[in-house]
């Protein structure tokens, strides 16, 4: 297995705008790392550079002691699962999984054995003679995994592999991929724009925006302690509330934005945010989301555990704890919360 080190990677497609801007990341042995960000943030480009499908303008990529710069994709010992699976439509499941090994001149008997093993693991044994067209979305997904698996790569790359599946299948596959990765202990990099996917699967997340790394950390750390205003807004659903600092007395003068998670707004607490009127209520069973506005017109979202007793048009005073407030300066960087 392997450790992946990206140091100071830059890549531009057009002069003047950087698709990937000085990114340095270390992925530990056996770690499952998610690259998360909005579309166009550079996460896929970064992944493709690891695979060798794109070449970085500057910076270096190393797998353990081997520097990968200039090494062609097939010689990097990496395997990739594509968003649309990219299965070879004219080959059977067996053919798809065996193709890379054939190209490496692995002996026939050994190919057979490795494909059968992988098929067993992915519950594809009964489908080995079928063509991709005859498979369901989830099965195709597993074939794509199998194709990566049989190569026994040092690192697994996933490029939004679940985005073509429907919601329930996506949840199942999330679990399957995670269990498989943990069992095999293969270092993995997973690109997604879906925060639930990233939060539930990853050991650590890398949040990217406009080619830059905004924050690296465990899912909980990123959620609780966003280091930038972008991360605070990008992670969490329903989205974090952004407040005018003028609402709260005693904040440092350089603070231009205050954020607070919907679950941290309550009917009691240290800080009084003012009178709130309910516009809309979403009842999800285990929790309730309440939408409305403060008397100054400032929109707020509140999350309440379980069932509630409110109705539309009700008004009440909203409070929060000072420690839950997240403060950001004009550049979007996090400020220490002096109120706590």
């Amino acid at each position: 297995m392997a450790t992946l080190i990206l140091s100071d990677i830059c890549k531009s497609f057009q002069a003047g705008s950087r698709a990937v801007d000085s990114v340095s990341i270390e992925v530990g042995d056996g770690e499952f790392l998610a690259l998360l960000g909005p579309s166009g943030c550079g996460k896929s480009t970064l992944l493709r550079m690891i695979a060798g499908l794109e070449v970085q303008d500057s910076g270096s990529i190393a797998l353990d002691q081997d520097v990968l710069d200039g090494v062609p994709p097939a010689k990097r010992d990496v395997a990739m699962v594509f968003q649309n699976y990219a299965l070879y439509p004219h080959m059977t499941v067996f053919g798809n999984m065996a193709y890379a090994l054939k190209n490496r001149k692995v002996p026939k008997e050994s190919i057979r054995q490795r494909v059968l093993e992988a098929a067993e693991l992915l519950r594809l044994t009964d489908y080995l003679d079928r063509k991709p067209m005859q498979l369901s979305g989830g099965q195709r997904q597993r074939v794509a995994m199998g194709r990566a698996l049989v190569r026994e790569p040092r690192i697994f790359l996933f490029d939004e592999p679940l985005s073509n599946l429907d919601a329930s299948l996506r949840a199942t596959m999330r679990l399957e991929i995670r269990q498989l990765q943990r069992r095999l202990g293969i270092t993995s990099v997973f690109v997604t724009h879906d925060q639930i996917e990233a939060m539930t699967m990853a050991d650590r997340l890398v949040v990217m925006n406009q080619g830059r790394v905004e924050q690296i950390g465990t899912p909980l750390d990123v959620y609780r302690n966003p280091q930038t205003s972008f991360v605070a807004g990008f992670i969490g659903s329903p989205a974090i509330n952004r407040l005018d600092p003028a609402l709260i007395p005693g904040l440092p003068s350089e603070c231009v934005e205050v954020c607070i998670r919907p679950e941290h707004l309550q009917e009691t607490g240290e800080v009084d945010l003012g009178l709130f009127t309910i516009d809309l209520i979403e009842e999800l069973g285990s929790e309730t989301i309440v939408y409305g506005a403060l008397s100054g017109g400032h929109a707020l979202t509140i999350r309440i555990e379980g069932v509630h007793t409110k109705s539309i048009g009700d008004t009440f005073n909203v409070y929060c704890e000072a420690k839950d407030l997240l403060l950001f300066d004009h550049a979007g960087a996090r400020l220490a919360n002096t109120a706590s």
Partner: protein, 283 residues
Amino acid sequence: MNRLHRYQLADHAILILGILFLVTPLWVVFASSTYPAEYLIRHGLQVIPGDQLVETYWSVLTEKKGFTEQITAARMLLNSMILGVGFAIGKIAISMTAAYAIVYFRFPLGTFLFWVIFSTLLLPLEVRIIPSYKVVADLGLLNSYTGLIVPLIASATGTFFFRQFFRSVPEEVLEAAKLDGAGPIKFFIDILMPLSKTMMAALFIIMFVVGWNQYLWPLLMTTNDDYVTIVYGIKQVMQNLDESRIPEYNRGFALAVLALLPPIGIVLIFQKMFIKGLLESDK
């Protein structure tokens, strides 16, 4: 009967008239080919088939007589088959490889070569027949299958057909193949060729018909009867009809029917594939 039905009846009537318009001339030619020449001269074209079907066609296929003194219709059919198949295969081979180079590689001359190929679409063979004839004559290719087939392959329709198709193949397939260790040649043979199977078949059908139906070029190229194709043979029928005392209309008709059967058969049998090829190849 309600209004909807009456409308539909009119629709059916229009379509049946259309079909009659297309089918009747050919049927009349076929029916008339089964009568003796003298009968046709006296009674005109026939709608109901006569009793000379086997005699007429057998004599056209096997005898070198009448208007075709040097060659049987069987030989003409063979020549047409060689032209149709050779043209289709040649065109598929060169256009597939050229399209592959243009779509999957970025090379310094790529754009320039693309425009050169594109320019052939604008100027059909017909506008440069005489210099083309001279070139082929200078190369000593008159009266040869090479001279018959190769100049016709020069146009770019097939290249555009495959270019369009290759561009519709998801990029990830190439990326996956790269990761799986396939180089340019391996990718072409292992992935792209099998993927193109139905496209090749569709183009083959179209190009076979186009090649089979060539007229002007064989007319110029062929001075020796051994290379006369069946479509060109028709021109000789026409010339001889005007000169003979008892015009052998029946044999002329039989030749026309023989010239039509193979392409019509292919178009009807592989109708779906033919339509696919036609729709994709001209865009």
